[in-house]
């Protein structure tokens, strides 16, 4: 790969959402040079920008924190760690208010600012400004396509494509942080178009494993014509086309809510009826989520009075839980010189088997970003005296294993999406259906790895397809290996929890995918020693 330009930074952050921003800020505060490269534009790209993350937010009161952690440990079903929860509560509480110079905090109704929940576009605009104020250099529209490794086995930067010109640029760094978000397999989920699992693929090519990929049965309800944020739909009643009311367990029912909706949607159109929504919502929606209101205004639909068709949008590993394995308290991965933060990293440390969505994810993205940024800055000094020779680690799309030929891109994406996200497969996982999906995903991977080859912008697209296919294979293999039901990983043929599977599962490998058990998580409290 020949680069047409070169840049250097102590710390390189790959991504442009909230995790990337906090990582860049955390590193820059240590006085090192920082470059951020984003596939999109930092400020508008990623699910943070289109969302409105409500952070896990508990005042530093011992009893309150203990109670919040106890509830979260319970949800996590043995796969999370109390010490991580304490840290992210503390970091979030102390650092989120720092966006105040650039963010229009609203009132908390009691004379102070309301901090814990922030609106996406304003939040990312503020984080971009805060990063710039700290001297961070931001390159928008520069997706990373592969990691670089030096002769000592340390990650030494990336190759990226400047989308405006199609040129390859080489960025050398002392330490590198992947904050590339999760993967929603191009489901149409709001804000997720650029989250195709690129970070997972790049990390795996460098030898990292993925953890928690089986916890990926997460969906959000939206109008059938576009994914929006979901505030108005929680009280919805559901009807079929003939006007018969459907028997759908409430959203709190989790998997059975999804199953009932999925079953109905497989049979025909499902219409939502919001006449039961909290009465004040109608007057407030436009002030809270203006873009949700626009999705209806512009179709001439009165959402509180007219029924409208809905569907479920897959969230993959975004509000699922899996990602790159973290090996220490500094958010290091298994690969020297490489850190991970936000949805690119596993959130099992704080979410365990549950969804990270709804509070913990954003507290994790902020905290893991700051932690990784600070630790990467510390290491970057070592990186200043690194060997000069580096090697690109990208395989699929760069070096086809067999002859180069055009691959069916749309077909590959739609097969991947169907095998991971289709309602029948996702809501009723069985050994048999997972094995058959695994077979089809192998074929897609083989086709891409054997034949795909491109350059510039075209290579970016091929890498996205390879990343989605690889991510789907890890999710599927982990779902097979978790031969039980635990949290978000529900198996129709294994409805119970298996005491012998109370550990995390690591998926790894590209040519061959394997899943192994991580050493069991430390017990919550030291066990009393029998006298």
């Amino acid at each position: 790969m020949i680069a047409s330009s070169f840049l250097r930074a102590d710390v390189l952050v790959v991504g442009g959402g909230m995790a990337a921003a906090w990582a860049a800020i955390g590193a820059a505060r240590q006085g090192v040079s920082v470059i951020v490269i984003d596939k999109g534009a930092m400020g508008t790209s990623g699910v943070t920008a289109t969302g409105g993350p409500g952070h896990w937010w508990v005042p530093p009161d011992r009893a309150a924190r203990e109670a919040a952690i106890a509830r979260q440990m319970d949800k996590a079903q043995g796969l999370a760690e109390r010490a991580w929860m304490e840290r992210i509560l503390d970091l979030t509480w102390r650092h989120l208010p720092e966006i105040a110079p650039f963010y229009p905090f609203g009132s908390n109704g009691a004379g102070g600012p309301y901090v814990q929940g922030v609106r996406g576009p304003e939040y990312m605009r503020a984080l971009r400004k805060l990063a710039i104020a700290h001297g961070v250099t931001i390159l928008d529209h520069h997706p990373a396509i592969e990691l670089l490794r030096d002769e000592d086995g340390r990650i030494a930067g990336v190759h990226a494509v400047a989308l405006a010109s199609g040129d390859v640029i080489e960025i050398r760094s002392g330490a590198t942080i992947l904050a590339t978000g999760g993967c929603a397999f191009r489901s149409g989920l709001i804000g997720s178009h650029t989250q195709t699992g690129d970070g997972y693929l790049m990390a795996a090519e460098a030898g990292a494993s993925l953890s928690g990929m089986e916890f990926s049965i997460s969906y959000s309800l939206s109008p059938a014509w576009a994914s929006t944020r979901t505030l108005p739909y929680f009280a919805a009643r559901f009807f079929d086309e003939a006007g018969r009311e459907l028997d759908i367990p409430p959203p709190d029912a989790g998997h059975s809510h999804l199953q009932a909706l999925g079953r109905a949607m497989l049979e025909g159109p499902v219409l939502a009826d919001l006449s039961d929504a909290p009465p004040v919502l109608e007057g407030l929606l436009r002030r809270i989520q203006p873009l949700t209101a626009a999705a209806f205004d512009r179709r001439g639909i009165d959402l509180f009075r007219q029924r409208f068709a809905v569907r479920l949008y897959g969230e993959g590993t975004i509000r699922g839980t899996g990602g790159i394995r973290i090996v220490d308290r500094d958010c290091r991965t298994e690969v020297p010189g490489l850190f991970a933060a936000g949805d690119a990293a596993t959130r099992e440390l704080v979410a365990g088997a549950s969804s990270g969505g709804g509070a913990v994810n954003s507290a994790w993205a902020l905290s893991s970003g700051l932690i990784a940024g600070e630790a990467a800055a510390g290491e970057a000094i070592i990186g200043r005296q690194r060997p000069a020779a580096v090697r690109g680690l990208g395989r699929a799309g760069f070096h086809p294993r067999r002859g180069t030929r055009a691959i069916d891109r749309a077909g590959a994406i739609s097969t991947v999406r169907d095998r991971v996200l289709s309602y029948d497969r996702a809501f009723w996982r069985t050994r048999e259906t997972l094995e058959s999906a695994g077979h089809d995903l192998e074929s897609v991977w083989t086709e891409v790895a054997d034949h795909a080859s491109g350059e510039g912008r075209d290579l970016v697209e091929l890498r996205e397809i390879a990343a989605m296919a690889a991510t789907a294979r890890w999710c599927n293999a982990a779902a097979l290996a978790r031969d039980e039901t635990r949290g978000l990983a529900v198996r129709a043929d294994r409805p119970d929890k298996d005491g012998a599977l109370g550990h995390r599962l690591l998926a790894r490998g590209l040519s061959q995918v394997e899943v192994i058990a991580e050493a069991p998580v430390q017990p919550r409290e030291p066990q009393p020693v029998a006298a």
Partner: protein, 126 residues
């Protein structure tokens, strides 16, 4: 999908080109070109970036049809999401004063659904 950039309003500043997270737009002599519509994720963030209120995003993820320009100009929808956001208001403008109600309203919705479901179950059991 982005469906219209109203020529009469566009100042050619290209802010939308830089803001688009999926690079749908290409800079052009005056009005930016909608060059890669299939990458549009219907996020409306180009509208927030447009100081001239010239952009209109159609609500469907697969639909880029727009009303005729005079209809659009009369619709009140150009710039609507920017006004609703209070995007250019000062930081202490109060544009997020109702935002704290998001969580409570969401929980209230969930509880309404849960109560209705439980009530339906008991009436069936009778």
């Amino acid at each position: 999908m982005i469906a219209a950039i109203v020529e009469a309003r566009c100042t050619g500043c290209n802010a939308c080109v830089g803001a688009c997270p999926t690079r749908v737009l290409e800079p052009a002599a005056k009005v930016p070109l909608i060059a890669r519509l299939d990458a549009c994720q219907t996020c409306y963030l180009c509208e927030l970036a447009c100081e001239a209120d010239a952009i209109w995003v159609a609500p469907g993820e697969d639909d880029a049809t727009a009303p005729a320009e005079p209809v659009l100009l009369a619709s009140g929808q150009l710039g609507q999401v920017r006004r609703d956001h209070g995007w250019n208001a000062p930081l202490d403008g109060g544009q997020l004063d109702d935002y704290r109600l998001l969580g409570p309203l969401l929980r209230e919705g969930s509880e309404i659904a849960a109560r209705r479901y439980a009530a339906g179950r008991t009436s069936e059991a009778r």
